[in-house]
Symmetry: C2
Subunit: 428 residues, 2 copies
C-alpha cells in the first residue's frame, strides 16, 4: 500500500518523540490505518548537528517552505513552536491541501479560529491534542466525549513548571526563589521562566479548553491572569493548616450563556481530587450538568507523552483520509461569547491581613465585610508573640469579585488593617 | 432538515436520562450534527405505568420487534440490559442496517466480537462508551487517544457498589455485612449483590477494557476473579497502618505479547492516584509505554452520567451518518491472545498469618519464603496480649503467583503457621 507521507516541522524534544513512536510502533499504526506512515522530510535548524536518534540525513532540510510546498507530503506535523512565521507555514500548507497536526498552544490560542476556518474551507484536518496537557487526551474528550453535555466548569493544572514549584514549596517548605532555581537546573523551568510562572502559558491553554468546552470563541484577552511569583511560604503553610493546597489553577466557568476564564493561584481543599495532583503532572477537572465531576490526569509535557498525542492525531487524520472525510469533523464555536462582569464572578476567598494589635480590631474588620455584603465563613488569629502587628486569616462564603474588591478598597483607608498580605480564590 | 430517528430499548434509569438529555440539549445536539434528533419509539415493559418524565404515550411499545423492524428508525439505543434476547434484537437491527448505541457491558463482554463483526459486514456503527465506567469516556480514550501508544497496564475501579462498601469500611470502620445492608437500603447495591461483590460485573468491564487496550480478544473466562466478601475490617485496618487502602481493582497487564487480567481486592499504596478514588466514583488508570501514567476519574453510574456517554455515542453515530462512513471506524482486535501463566504473573503480596507464639517461628516462616524464592520486603508483628496465637504481617517483594502459591502450600504443613488469614496483591 502507498505510504502516507509526513513532513515534520521541528526535531526538538517532541519531534524526536514523534520519530521514535512512528518508527517504533509502525506495525500497530499500519494495523490501525491500513497503510504505512512514513516521515519523508524533517525541518531542522542545523542539518549538521548530531542527533540522539538515527535519521537519514537526506530527509533533513533547513527550509520550511521546501516541506510545506512538497507535493508528495500529505500531512504536516508541526512541533517547532513559534507564532507568526509558523502560522504562515500552516496556512500555506492548508492552501495546498495538506492536513495539519500541531502541538502549538500559542498558535492555536491566538490564531485557532483563522486556522480552523481555512482548514474547513480547504477540506483539511487540523488536530491539536498535544497543545494542552501533553499526554492527556483532553481535547477529544471535550469535543467528543462530552458532546452531549453542557459543561459548566473546567479547572486545570495545565502548567507543569508551576505545579512542580508549588508542590516543592508545599512538601519541603522551600522558598519560591530557591525552588525556581532548582527547577531551572533540572530543566523543568526555562532560563526565562516568565511565561510559565506569570501564568501566560496556562492562560493560552485555558483559552483552548474553554473555547472547546463552552463552544464559544474565547480569546487570550478574555482570560484574567495572575502568576505564582508572589506566593509565599507563609501563604502555603496557612493554607495547609486550614486544609488547603495552593495550586495555579486555570478556571473556566459558565452559567447560562455567561462565561469567565481566569488563571490564578488558588487555595484548593485537600479533599478535592485536583489538590493531590503533584509535581510536573497535569490534570483537567471537568464538571458537566449531566455527567457531574470528572478528572483527567497525566503527564503534561515530555518527549514521549506529548508525542503520544501528536501521533494519535496523526492516526485520526490518516483514518479520515482513508474515509475521504477530512475537514468535516472539526467543530467551530457556535455560541456567542459573553463574559461575566466582576459582579457575576463569585467564589470563596482567603485573606491574610496584617492588623493592629488592639481591642476592637476584629469587630471593625467584620463591619467592613458586612458593609460590602461579604459574609465570613471562618476567622483564624494565629498567635504571634512579641509583635505589635498581628495576623488575621479570613475565609469568606461565596462572594462576588466586585464585592471583594470593595472590601479591599475599604481596607486601604481602615485604621485596623495595616496591610492586606494576600488574597486567594478558594475552590473545593 | 430530516430528523434522525431513534428507537430506544428500555426506559429505566439510563433510558430516562437519555430522553432528558436528547430533549434538554436539542439545540446543542443539532448544532453539532446538523439535524434534529428525535426519539421515535420506546420499548417499555408496561405501557400503562406512570413515568417521571412527560412521554407521548403513542411512542411507547411493549414489543421490541416493532422497534427493531421499524423501517423509519435509523439508530437503536439499547439500555434495557439482558444478554441472549437482547443480542437477537441487536443482530436483527444490524441486519436491517440500523446503527447501535448500547450501555450493555454484559452483552459486549460476552458477544462483542460477534456483534462488531456483524456491524462491520453491514456497514453499521456499534458504539458502547456507556458500558464501562458510566460518564468517563474511557473507551474512546483507549481507541483514539492512545492509538499511537502501547498500553502496558490498565487498573480500574469499575464497580461503584464495591468501592462504596470498601470506602465505608475504611473510613468508618464498619463491618462488611453492615455496609452492604446500608448500600442496599440506599440503592447502591442490588437485593442480590452477588454480581457486584463477587467481582463479576468488574470482570465483564475489564474484558472490554483489556480487549481495547491490548487490541486482542479477551474473553470473560480469561479473567481471574475474586470478590470482596472475604475482606475483613482487620485487613483494612492493617492496610491503613502500613500506608495502603484496600480496593477492588481490575488489573490488566501486558508484557511483550503476553497478557493477564484479574479482578481482586488489592492493597494500593495511598500515594497512588487510584487509592483516593472513593465512594461510588470510578477511575481507570492507564499506563502506556510512551505516555506513562494517566488516570480518568468520574461517576461510574447513575441516570445522567451514563446517559451522557450514550448520547455522546449517538452524536458520533449521527456525524458518521452525515459523512457516510458508518461501520468503518470500529476496530477489531488484531493481536493473538496469549495469556501469562502463574509463573509469569508477578506482583508484591501482603499476607496476614496466625502463627504459634514461640521462639523460632519467624525464622521458620522466613525459611519457607526463601525456599520458594520469594523475598520479603517487610515484616510486622503487632502485639496481641493474652493470646497464645499471634499475628504476623508480611509484605513481599515482586514475586510470581506460582511462587506465592508454593509458599501458601508449604504453610499448610508448617508447624509454625496456624492459619493464613489473608493474602492480597499489592500495587503502587
Amino acid at each position: 500500500m502507498k505510504p502516507i507521507k509526513i513532513g515534520l516541522l521541528g526535531l526538538g524534544t517532541v519531534g524526536t518523540g514523534v520519530v521514535r513512536l512512528v518508527e517504533g510502533h509502525q506495525d500497530d499504526l499500519s494495523n490501525q490505518v491500513g497503510s504505512p506512515i512514513s516521515i519523508s522530510q524533517i525541518l531542522v535548524k542545523d542539518r549538521s548537528k548530531s542527533r540522539n536518534i538515527p535519521i537519514d540525513a537526506s530527509k533533513l532540510t533547513e527550509d520550511p517552505w521546501e516541506i510545506v510546498r512538497n507535493p508528495d507530503i500529505d500531512v504536516i506535523v508541526e512541533v517547532m513552536g513559534g507564532i507568526e512565521l509558523t502560522k504562515d507555514y500552516i496556512l500555506e500548507a492548508l492552501e495546498r491541501g495538506k492536513h495539519i497536526v500541531t502541538a502549538n498552544k500559542d498558535l492555536m490560542a491566538l490564531h485557532g479560529r483563522e486556522i480552523l476556518e481555512k482548514a474547513r474551507d480547504k477540506g483539511c484536518d487540523v488536530l491539536y491534542e498535544a497543545s494542552v496537557a501533553g499526554g492527556i487526551p483532553i481535547i477529544r474528550t471535550l469535543i467528543e466525549g462530552f458532546s452531549s453535555d453542557r459543561i459548566t466548569k473546567i479547572m486545570g493544572i495545565v502548567n507543569g513548571t508551576t505545579n512542580y514549584i508549588l508542590t516543592k514549596m508545599s512538601q519541603e517548605g522551600v522558598a519560591y526563589a530557591d525552588v525556581l532555581k532548582e527547577a531551572q537546573t533540572l530543566g523543568y523551568a526555562e532560563a526565562d521562566p516568565t511565561s510559565d510562572v506569570e501564568g501566560l502559558d496556562a492562560a493560552r491553554k485555558m483559552t483552548i479548553l474553554s473555547t472547546l468546552g463552552f463552544r464559544t470563541d474565547v480569546a487570550l484577552e478574555h482570560v484574567k491572569v495572575k502568576g505564582i511569583s508572589a506566593v509565599s511560604q507563609e501563604d502555603i503553610q496557612y493554607a495547609k493548616r486550614l486544609g488547603y493546597e495552593v495550586k495555579l489553577l486555570g478556571i473556566a466557568e459558565r452559567q447560562d450563556d455567561l462565561i469567565s476564564v481566569s488563571v490564578e493561584p488558588t487555595m484548593v481543599k485537600t479533599s478535592h481530587p485536583i489538590a493531590s495532583v503533584n509535581g510536573v503532572f497535569n490534570a483537567v477537572y471537568v464538571h458537566g450538568e449531566a455527567v457531574g465531576e470528572t478528572m483527567f490526569y497525566g503527564a503534561g509535557a515530555g518527549e514521549l507523552p506529548t508525542a503520544t498525542s501528536v501521533v494519535a492525531d496523526l492516526v485520526a487524520v490518516v483514518k479520515n483520509m482513508k474515509l475521504g472525510v477530512n475537514g468535516r469533523q472539526s467543530q467551530l464555536s457556535y455560541n456567542v461569547t459573553k463574559l461575566k462582569t466582576d459582579e457575576q464572578i463569585a467564589s470563596k476567598f482567603f485573606l491574610l491581613l496584617h492588623v493592629e494589635d488592639r481591642a476592637g480590631v476584629l469587630a471593625q474588620i467584620a463591619q467592613v465585610f458586612s458593609d460590602c455584603e461579604v459574609s465570613i465563613e471562618s476567622v483564624m488569629q494565629p498567635s504571634t508573640p512579641n509583635q505589635s502587628s498581628t495576623e488575621i486569616i479570613i475565609i469568606t462564603h461565596q462572594a462576588s469579585k466586585a464585592a471583594m474588591n470593595n472590601v479591599l478598597k475599604a481596607f486601604e483607608s481602615s485604621s485596623a488593617v495595616r496591610k492586606v498580605k494576600s488574597v486567594y480564590r478558594v475552590e473545593g
